[in-house]
C-alpha cells in the first residue's frame, strides 16, 4: 500500500466521522414544552373536539359492526355484563373469511384486502395521546374522590358494551373460599380500607393504598401541560386497572418514538400477576416490582422521565413501598374457571363436546398452545412477532397513526379472557370470534367454520 493510499484512506475516514448536517429534530424523541397560554390551548382543543370525536367514530363504524349482541347465557365473571359475540370486523366488499384465508399475504397486501379492523387501532388523538378513561371510571372517581379524570380534548371511543364489566369482581389467592370480595364496588382511596380490612396483611394494605394514591402526571397534573379543566390531583395505578382488572382505558405505548408511530395500548388486567414473568407489552421488565416502580418514575406509560420530572415525579422506595405494591398485586387471582383442572385442561365430564373439540384445536391445528401454554396460566413468558405487516402496506396512516410493524409483543394470558375485551395489545379486536378470525389468517390455519366456533366456545371456558 502506498503512502498516498494510506493518506487518502485516513482522510476519507476522518471525513466520514465529521457530522456536517444538523441532527434530526429534537422533538422526535423529547416532548416539546408548552408554549401557549393554557386558556388558548383549551379553547383550541375544545373547538377541535367534535371533529376529533367524529373522525374516530367514523373510523370505528367503518371497521366494525358495533351493535350490541351478547352471546345468550354467557356472562362475565361478576355476572353483571354479557359477553359480546360474533365476528365484528368488517370484510372488504365481496370478500368472505374463507376466501380471504385462501389468499397469500402478498396477494392480500397487493390488492389491499386486509380488513381495516385487523390493522392497528389508532388513539382518538394521536398527536396528544395520553390516558383516556371510560365514562364509568370518570363518574366513579368524581363521586368518590371529587377528582376529575375528564379530558377536555377527547372522550373514550368504544361503546360501553365492548368494555369489561364495571366494577370488576376481585378474587384473592389468599381467600379463594370467599369468591368475589369487591362487594360490587370499585376500589378508591376512600373505600379501600373498609372493603379489604381483615382480608389483607398490613403490607398488602399499604401496597393497595399506594396503588390508589393519585399523583399528578401525564394529562392530569397542575401545569399548563394538562388536559383537564382545573389543576388536577393526578391519577392512580388503579384508575386504569380498576379492581386490579382493566376498565379498557387506553394510552399510547411508552416504548416507541416518534409520537406518530406510538401504537395504542389497551389496559391489561392485573389478574394472575403471580404467574407472569415478563411485564409491559414491549419492555419485558422482569418483575412486577420493576414495572410498578418504573411506571411511577416515567409518568404512567409515557417512557418520558424528562416530562415526568417537570410535573413532579413519584419515586417510590424500592424496599419499603415498591415491594408492598408488588405483594398486593401478586395476591390477585384469575376468576374461577370451573371447567379447568390444575393443568389448565378441560375436565371432560364438565365440558361440552364443542368445548372439548375447541380445546383439541387450541392445542393442535390452531397452534394457540404454542405460546398460550395451558399449564403455565396460558403464558409462555416470551415475546413473539406475528408479522402482520406481511398483509398491508407499511407506512399507511390512519387518524394520524403511522402503521408500522408491531414487532415482538408479549404473550398475554387467556385465563378469564371473556372478561377482558377488547383484544390484542391495542384493543383492535372486539370479540373472541374476531380473535379467532385474526389468528386464522395471520397464522395461516385454514380452520373451518365449525372449528372456529368450537375454538370460540373453548375460549369462553377459560
Amino acid at each position: 500500500m502506498t503512502i498516498r493510499t494510506i493518506t487518502c484512506l485516513a482522510a476519507c475516514a476522518s471525513l466520514a466521522l465529521v457530522v456536517q448536517a444538523d441532527p434530526l429534530p429534537p422533538d422526535l424523541t423529547y416532548r416539546p414544552l408548552p408554549t401557549q397560554p393554557f386558556s388558548d390551548v383549551k379553547r383550541m382543543d375544545e373547538a377541535a373536539k367534535p371533529q376529533v370525536t367524529r373522525r374516530q367514530a367514523d373510523l370505528l363504524a367503518s371497521r366494525y359492526d358495533l351493535s350490541n349482541r351478547v352471546i345468550p347465557g354467557v356472562m362475565m365473571s361478576g355476572g353483571r355484563k354479557g359477553v359480546q359475540g360474533g365476528v365484528r370486523v368488517k370484510l372488504p366488499e365481496g370478500m368472505t373469511w374463507d376466501k380471504l384465508a385462501s389468499l397469500s399475504p402478498e396477494e392480500i397486501r397487493q390488492r389491499n384486502l386486509l380488513p381495516e379492523g385487523f390493522k392497528p387501532l389508532p388513539h382518538v388523538k394521536q398527536a396528544t395521546g395520553g390516558q383516556v378513561f371510560p365514562q364509568v371510571q370518570i363518574d366513579h372517581i368524581a363521586k368518590q374522590e371529587q377528582r376529575d379524570l375528564r379530558r377536555f380534548d377527547v372522550d373514550f371511543d368504544l361503546p360501553d358494551h365492548f368494555t369489561p364489566e364495571f366494577p370488576a369482581p376481585i378474587f384473592l389467592t389468599t381467600h379463594t373460599e370467599l369468591g368475589d370480595v369487591s362487594r360490587g364496588q370499585a376500589l378508591s382511596i376512600r373505600n379501600f380500607y373498609e372493603l379489604l380490612n381483615g382480608l389483607v396483611t398490613p403490607v398488602q394494605m399499604e401496597g393497595l393504598r399506594l396503588l390508589l394514591t393519585p399523583f399528578p402526571q401525564e394529562e392530569f397534573n397542575q401545569t399548563e401541560d394538562r388536559k383537564v379543566a382545573l389543576q388536577s390531583m393526578g391519577v392512580a395505578c388503579l384508575d386504569c386497572h380498576t379492581n386490579f382488572h382493566s376498565n379498557a382505558a387506553f394510552h399510547l405505548t411508552p416504548d416507541v418514538r416518534p409520537q406518530a408511530a406510538r401504537f395504542r395500548l389497551d389496559s391489561t388486567s392485573l389478574r394472575g400477576m403471580f404467574n407472569q414473568q415478563i411485564h409491559g407489552s414491549k419492555r419485558s421488565l422482569r418483575s412486577i416490582e420493576d414495572f410498578s416502580e418504573f411506571e411511577q418514575r416515567t409518568a404512567y406509560f409515557n417512557g418520558d422521565h424528562v416530562s415526568a420530572t417537570r410535573k413532579g415525579p413519584n419515586l417510590p422506595d424500592r424496599t419499603n413501598q415498591v415491594a408492598m405494591m408488588a405483594q398486593m398485586q401478586n395476591i390477585i387471582d384469575f376468576p374461577p374457571a370451573p371447567k379447568l383442572d390444575w393443568r389448565g385442561r378441560l375436565i371432560a365430564d364438565r365440558a361440552t363436546a364443542q368445548e372439548l373439540a375447541g380445546e383439541k384445536i387450541f392445542n393442535g391445528k390452531g397452534q394457540c398452545a404454542q405460546c398460550h401454554v395451558p399449564q403455565s396460566a396460558f403464558l409462555d413468558h416470551q415475546m413473539h412477532d406475528l408479522r402482520l405487516e406481511r398483509f398491508y402496506r407499511t407506512g399507511e396512516v390512519r387518524n394520524d397513526l403511522v402503521m408500522l410493524p408491531d414487532g415482538p409483543i408479549k404473550t398475554f394470558t387467556l385465563r378469564g379472557i371473556k372478561d377482558s375485551p377488547p383484544y390484542l395489545h391495542d384493543g383492535r379486536l372486539l370479540t373472541l370470534a374476531d380473535t379467532v378470525e385474526y389468528f386464522n389468517l395471520v397464522l395461516g390455519l385454514k380452520l373451518s367454520a365449525q372449528e372456529k366456533d368450537a375454538l370460540t366456545a373453548y375460549l369462553l371456558t377459560l
Binding site: V18, A21, P25, Q36, A48, A260, A261, T394
Partner: protein, 207 residues
C-alpha cells in the same frame, strides 16, 4: 395598560383565531413549537418552526436523492442497483414539485441543494468503483431513507400545516417502499439475509 400592549393582545387573538381552522383536525396545541401563535410580527402564513424545518430537511434530502441517483445511474455495475438509481431519480424528481406545491401557501421555498451529509457522501462515492460503489451507494441510501421515514413521521405527528401533513402522509408509504427496495438490494449485493421490510416479502426459493 398602555395602547401598545392592547394592540399586541388584539393582534395575538386575531392571529390565534386565524390559525384555528388549520389546527382543528390533528394538532396538539400544548406541544406546539414557539412561533406559531405568539403574536410576534412576522409575514402572514410563514408557517412555524416545525413546518419550516420539515420543508428544509426533506427538500434537501430529496435533492440529494436525485443527485445521488444520477451518479449511480452512470456508475453502478449491478443492473438492479442501476434500475433502483433510475427509480430514485424519477420518484424524487416528482416529489420535489409536490413538496413545493404544499409549501407554497406558507411562503416557504424548497431547497434545491443536497444536505451537507449527502454532499460528503457524494464526494466519497465519486472515488469508488465497481462493486464497492454499488455497496456504498446502497448503504448511503439505507441511511437516507431511514432518516426520511423519521422526518415524515415527525411532520405527521408534530407538524401544523394540514397541506404539508397530507404531503407527508401520502409520501410515507412510497418512502417505505424505497426503504424495502434498498434492503432487498443490500441483501442481494452483500449476500447476507434480508432485513427490515425486506423480510415482508416471501423469501425467494433457492434452487
Amino acid at each position: 395598560m398602555n395602547h401598545t400592549l392592547l394592540r399586541g393582545l388584539a393582534a395575538a387573538s386575531t392571529l390565534a383565531l386565524a390559525v384555528l381552522p388549520a389546527l382543528a383536525q390533528t394538532g396538539n396545541p400544548a406541544g406546539m413549537a414557539p412561533g406559531s401563535a405568539d403574536g410576534r410580527p412576522k409575514p402572514p402564513l410563514s408557517g412555524n418552526t416545525t413546518d419550516q424545518l420539515f420543508v428544509k430537511l426533506v427538500g434537501m434530502g430529496n435533492a440529494g436523492e436525485v443527485d445521488a441517483g444520477r451518479l449511480a445511474d452512470g456508475k453502478a455495475t449491478n443492473a438492479s442497483v442501476k434500475a433502483f438509481a433510475r427509480l430514485m431519480v424519477q420518484d424524487h424528481s416528482s416529489a420535489g414539485p409536490r413538496l413545493a406545491a404544499a409549501a407554497r401557501p406558507l411562503g416557504l421555498a424548497v431547497p434545491t441543494e443536497p444536505d451537507p451529509d449527502q454532499r460528503i457522501t457524494r464526494a466519497r462515492l465519486e472515488g469508488l468503483q465497481g462493486a464497492a460503489f454499488d455497496s456504498a451507494y446502497l448503504q448511503a441510501q439505507l441511511i437516507d431513507h431511514q432518516k426520511t421515514v423519521l422526518l415524515l413521521e415527525w411532520e405527521i405527528g408534530n407538524g401544523q400545516d394540514p397541506g404539508l401533513q397530507a404531503f407527508a402522509k401520502e409520501t410515507l408509504p412510497v418512502v417505505m417502499e424505497h426503504l424495502r427496495h434498498v434492503q432487498e438490494l443490500l441483501a442481494e449485493v452483500t449476500g447476507t439475509g434480508p432485513q427490515g421490510l425486506a423480510l415482508d416479502r416471501d423469501a425467494p426459493r433457492r434452487r
